[in-house]
Each structure stands twice: as structure tokens, then as C-alpha cells.
Symmetry: C2
Subunit: 421 residues, 2 copies
């Protein structure tokens, strides 16, 4: 019988779960200290909501769930969509906006929440990517000032550092900056999406690649020159002078965008006085999701080729569920990527209580009970086969020490280490 999990999914063994729980507990402790509370939404959402356009390409990857009570024989001329009413969520943002719409009357303003849980995407299986994986989102809903951006950046980089990922760099940009940049270069609104997609590839294809793609998109070389000059001029700019540099380089950039970015720069400078947070303005940062409306950010770490976290402001998304505009900002930690970067969870002492078949059960359980009363993890294991080989297996299984209960020697409290060799 094939006992593999469903294609593209996986079983999580104890050592893996221990790392995941450790990372989760670490992140949770930091987010609690910032006053964020965990919420949960169901795995299943209405199929119309999941297919409403908010999910972008992910909407093609939905696991669709049959209505209940259907006839087994499908009637002629049936469309699949007639059979489906629910789907498994592909992210935690669609459920969050529904959650806020459903519960806003009892929630604080601003509402600080975080979510950790599985999402499902029917992607082509490939190494290291799974069809069920965890996302870890922190969001502030109802805060219009950059307090939200600054707090989320501070909390997220602190959470990452607490898991062991120090030395991160935060890259910051603003969707409104990108729009003003495109406007100033004379790129019509309808073509700006394409421009941003191309710009996003700069770190992969370099300026030569970006120039070639922009020209093939119909941009004349003069405009491309102008764009490249503006972007290059803003790359690596001293954060303290960011506001002035932006106002100077991008005509038409609204004052409030400059002020917001300058304020974020100030606040991050204050953070880095107490904790090593490295950050930079990155004029080529785009972020995929179309719902961002203001500042956007990504966190990179030397040990990971992709980003380890990303987010931004999405002021109009909650309004679609609620029927009135509510400002919002969020940050998503790449939970699976972080877990892959962490070697092992810290472990306590774990004692195997070895016993021969002739030892009374009550003597075995009494020894285990005495150890547990001291706060030690203890599990009876029957003596089997060669002693040395069994000790090797115990060590492999994660036991750190053992003790023996014999029929003639029930009181021996000696613990022998399995790990100090």
C-alpha cells in the first residue's frame, strides 16, 4: 500500500515540528510584545471570494471543494463551477479582509493582528516547494500614518533576529514613488504595470537586460536613459537626505510621499540606535501584489537568495469587503524559508527508562514518574537486542540519557548520558 502523503504535500516528523514550533514561539513572543494578537480564520472560504481578483495568479491554483449533497451522476451540460461552492485559501490576506469586515465592530482601532497557518496552492511540485505551506502575516488595520510601516518593520526585523536571522537588510520603496517615476518618464498609466514588472528584474538581468526589455515594450531610449539616471541617482542615497533627494529627482512626487518616506527614514534611524537594523531605499523594489498603495518593503538575509519577509501598505483592500475605506499595512514573514535556515530547536533532557520484560509495570512507571516530577521528560523503553546497539538507537531518536529499572534493583536512580562521548 502506498503510504505517501498526497502529491506535493509532506509529513512533518518530530524534529521538524520542533524547529517549526520553536520559530513560531519566538516570533509570537516578539509580536505579543508589540501588542499583536493572533487570530484564526477557517481554511475554507467561499469560492466567489477566493476568485474575486484579489489573489492575482494564485487564483489559478485554488483547490476547489464540491458542494455537499450532490447527485453522484453529474447532469448533462454541467460546468465544474456549478459543482463547487468552497475552496481552500491560498493566502491569509483574503481571509483577513473578510475577518475584519465580519468582526470590525468589536475590534480595536488600530487593530493589530497576526496569523500563522497553512495555505494551499496546487502548484507544479518542485523541490522545496509544497502545495500546503505556512504563511505568517502581521497586519495593522486602521492606522493611516507611517506609524504602521515603522512599527511593522521594527517588529518583523526583531522577530527575525530573535529566530537567529541577524544581519538582515530592509529594502523600502513606495508605490506612489514608482507611479510618479513612471509619470515623469512619460510612461502612460496603462503601461506602467509592465514597466514595474521589468524593473523588478534588475537584480537578475542587470541594466542591459532591463533596457532591452523596456525598449521592446515600446519605450524610447531617451525615456529609458532618464529612468536609469533617476534610479541610479537614488540608489544608495544617504537615508538622512532621502526626502530632499526624492523631491529633487522626481518632479510631481507628492509632498506627502516625500514626508512619509522621510519620517520612515527618521524612525528607522532611531531603531538602529538600539538594535542593528540595516535598511536602504531601493527605487527598483516593486513587490508583486497589485493591491499595495503606499510604502512597500522586503527583508533580505545573506543566507537566503530570495527575500525572507515582505509587505506594504494596502489602503483600499479592506474597503472592498467592508464597504468603506480603511487604511491597512502588513508584513509577511517567509515562514517556510526561515524554518529551512534554522538548524535545530533547543532541546531539554529526555530520559529513556530501560526495563527488562520481568520488571513489574508499576516499578517502571514509578521511575518515570519520579523523573517527570523533577521536570525531566521520561519515557519507558523495553530492553531489546544488543545493549550498545539499543543505546545508539536511543540517541538517534533524540534521547539524551537513560536509566535502567531491574527486577532486583528497582531503586537505582542513576542517569547515564547518551550525548557526552
Amino acid at each position: 500500500m502506498d503510504n505517501s502523503p498526497a502529491r506535493g504535500t509532506r509529513d512533518l516528523l518530530p524534529a521538524t515540528v520542533a524547529v517549526r514550533d520553536h520559530v513560531l514561539a519566538t516570533i509570537t513572543a516578539v509580536y505579543h510584545r508589540y501588542g499583536y494578537h493572533r487570530i484564526e480564520t477557517p481554511a475554507l472560504e467561499g469560492i466567489e471570494r477566493l476568485s474575486g481578483g484579489q489573489g492575482g495568479e494564485n487564483e489559478k491554483l485554488i483547490y476547489r471543494v464540491l458542494r455537499r449533497g450532490l447527485d453522484e451522476a453529474v447532469a448533462a451540460d454541467t460546468q465544474l463551477k456549478d459543482l463547487v461552492d468552497l475552496g481552500l485559501r491560498y493566502d491569509l490576506t483574503v481571509p483577513l479582509t473578510r475577518f475584519y469586515g465580519n468582526n470590525h465592530a468589536t475590534l480595536p482601532t488600530p487593530f493589530r493582528s497576526f496569523q500563522v497557518g497553512p495555505v494551499w496552492r496546487a502548484e507544479r511540485p518542485q523541490k522545496g516547494r509544497y502545495r500546503q505551506f505556512h504563511q505568517c502575516d502581521i497586519d495593522m488595520i486602521g492606522e493611516e500614518s507611517v506609524l504602521a510601516e515603522v512599527e511593522l518593520i521594527e517588529a518583523t526585523t526583531e522577530a527575525l533576529a530573535a529566530t537567529g536571522l541577524t544581519g538582515t537588510t530592509v529594502r523600502v520603496s513606495d508605490r506612489r514613488f514608482l507611479t510618479a517615476l513612471a509619470d515623469a518618464a512619460g510612461v502612460p498609466e496603462a503601461e506602467q504595470g509592465g514597466l514595474f514588472i521589468t524593473l523588478d528584474k534588475l537584480d537578475k538581468v542587470g541594466w542591459d537586460g532591463v533596457r532591452a526589455e523596456l525598449v521592446s515594450r515600446g519605450l524610447d531610449t531617451g525615456k529609458v536613459d532618464g529612468l536609469q539616471a533617476t534610479i541610479s541617482g537614488l540608489t544608495g542615497v544617504d537615508p538622512a537626505k532621502l526626502g530632499a533627494a526624492l523631491a529633487d529627482a522626481v518632479p510631481g512626487l507628492p509632498d506627502e510621499v516625500v514626508a512619509d518616506l522621510a519620517q520612515t527614514a527618521d524612525a528607522l534611524a532611531a531603531v538602529s540606535a538600539t538594535r542593528p537594523v540595516s535598511w536602504e531605499f531601493d527605487p527598483t523594489l516593486v513587490r508583486g501584489m497589485g493591491y499595495y498603495t503606499g510604502q512597500i518593503f522586503e527583508v533580505t538575509h545573506p543566507a537566503s537568495s530570495g527575500s525572507v519577509a515582505g509587505g506594504g501598505r494596502y489602503d483600499r483592500l479592506v474597503g472592498r469587503s467592508l464597504g468603506r475605506e480603511v487604511p491597512a499595512c502588513g508584513f509577511s514573514i517567509g515562514f517556510e524559508r526561515i524554518v529551512d535556515l534554522i538548524d535545530a530547536a533547543p532541546t531539554g533532557e529526555a530520559v529513556a527508562v530501560l526495563y527488562e520484560a520481568d520488571v513489574p509495570l508499576t516499578a517502571v512507571t514509578a521511575r518515570a514518574r519520579a523523573l517527570r516530577a523533577e521536570g525531566v521528560s521520561a519515557s519507558p523503553v523495553r530492553r531489546r537486542g544488543k545493549f550498545g546497539a539499543q543505546l545508539g538507537r536511543l540517541k538517534e531518536w533524540g534521547f539524551t540519557s537513560f536509566t535502567q529499572v531491574r527486577a532486583d534493583d528497582q531503586g537505582d536512580p542513576e542517569l547515564r548520558s547518551l550525548v557526552e562521548d
Copy 2:
């Protein structure tokens, strides 16, 4: 726009999640001390496995998932089953047996695991019952002796007590006892299932009801008299004399069943010497699932009408996945029921950092940062509306104290309590 969660499911707000996390952390700490490790399996399983008969009535409640890549237009003469390859799990036992089959080569013997996670059942929605709910299972696979039963009973009652549910009673019986009882009463094997279902109703319908139903099932009154006499004679029997009473009352009861129950009685007596564990042999305990093969148990608590935990030995179930017999025993805590019985999670101090719009952002974040550095949860909240009304809202939202940052008075570190009135 309707923002309700999918029918029969629910959103979990921060206060609810806090209780759930507290209960889970409490149970986890106890199970870790017994050397049990958490594992995880995917929410989706192959539909054939979910429909293999192991799930009993639950197999009628499966959320079925469409294959990917199907044509939108369903071909004529299609059966629903042709469109489905996966389903959402309805329990954690089916996935556990698959998990063990898939991973047994690297797992300890005995393998001690626990699982906590959502399962899905498309039940008719009713108050207090949800279509997505959590199960919490602890299992020992590979242990043939009653060490398994005793340890699981001890661990589970300790976990329940740690959550605050002291005063539980463990009811113990044995499927092999029930079979011998039915054999001795002359009930043919094919009708024993019906007998057990009727017997299970004793606490609801009393002996009159049970007698009437057994007679309507075709049992003659003489056999019913014999059954009632045997069961009544074994009810409330002194645990220390259980073995002798059983051997005496039920001719044909195998010696090993008597010995196992006597050993369990001894071991539980030892447990109750250090911790108040009340238990009794209950000859009318049946438990629904057909896969149990030996001792079965349930835990009741005065505050709950149903049982708060239940389980038993299922020696032949793992073998169906693995292809060779492996003894196993499990206990399931009624997680949702426990959570409903717990009022609130213990909370720490949560400070609202109130600020007027004219206060520089860096002053606000600095104050919050200073509080967090002391390990306190702190969140900036803008001053809005009448002061007293806002303090009332802060308290409602779970803040325990507040502090104010003013433009002219940034250094005031005073904390004012919201909860001491």
C-alpha cells in the same frame, strides 16, 4: 457584502485564540514530559484512503476536492467520484496510520506522538458544533503491553488537570470483555454489534429502555436477565478485586484479558497515590469506533455532560497501512470541549501608549520601545474623542494600563492602571 465565514465555520478572535493557545501549551508541556512529540500531516488525503471504511459514519461527511486541470465543461455520464482525487481529513487517526506506514523506518519503538490540528466534517450545522474543529490525539504505536494504556491514561488525566479540569473520572472497559460477555449470554457474533450499541445507551435510557431494545432485537428475556445480572454485579466493583470478579462473572473471558485489566488497575492505583485520579471499571462502556481491539477508556468531568476524552487499543489498524501487525493505543482529548470549559487565558500587562497627533513619531515609538525592553507588551494608540470613553475602550480591548506621550512632555514614564478600579 456578506463577510460571514463559510457556513458552519467560524472566525476565532484574539481572546478565543488566547484560550486555545493556553490550553494547547498546557497539554503540550505535559505530553512532552512523557516523551511524546508532535507530528503533523497534511489536511488533504487521498480520497480512497479517506473512504476505506476506517472512518465509519464520518466517511459520509467528507469535503471532497476536485482534481486539478479538469475541463470546465463536465463530459456526459460523469460520476462525481471521477472528478475527485482528494478530501479533507475528518480525523487524525487515518492520517496517523498512513504517517506510520510512510515513516516507520526512522521512528522509535515504541513511537510516542501527539497531534493537534483541524479536521473537517460536513455535518448539519448546530449550536456549538463546527464543520472545522480541532482534535488532539496522543498515541503510542508499537507497545503491546498495558504500559501503553496506563501511560496514556496517566498522561491524559494529568494534561486535563493541568488545564484546570481536576476531578475527572476515568471509565475503563475492554472490547474483549464485551465480546466474552456477549458470547456467554449466547448472543451470536453477527448480533453483538447491535447489543453493544444498545448497551451504550444505558446511561440515557436506563435498564428498562435497554431491556426493551434488546428484546426487540430478538434476545429472549432469560439472556437479557443474565446480561443485566452480570453487568450489575461488575458495576462499582472494588478495583483491587477486579480481576477475580471478572474471571468469576464472565466464563470464557481469556486469562490475558483478566491479567491486563488487573495490571491496569494496579498501575492506576499507584498513580492515584501521587495524584487524585479517580477511575472505575464500567462494563457498559462501548466507544463507537469499530477498530478498537482491547481496553477502551473515557474520561468524564462534572462540568461536561459528554466525555472530555476517550480512546483505546487498536492493534490491527496500523497493520492495514503497513502490511504487518503493529500494536497501538491512543487517547483523544476533546479539545473544543475543554476550551469551552476554560474561561480565559492568563494575561500579562498590556500598555496602550496614548499620543496626540502633534507628537513626533520617534517620541511615540521610543516610549513603546522602552516599555518592550522591560518585557511589557506596548502598543501606540492615538488619542481620540473623550478621554474617559477612550480609556473604557482600551480596557475592553484588553489593555491593562496606559501611558501618555505629549509633545511637551516626552519623558513622563508614568503607567496608569486600567484594571484596578
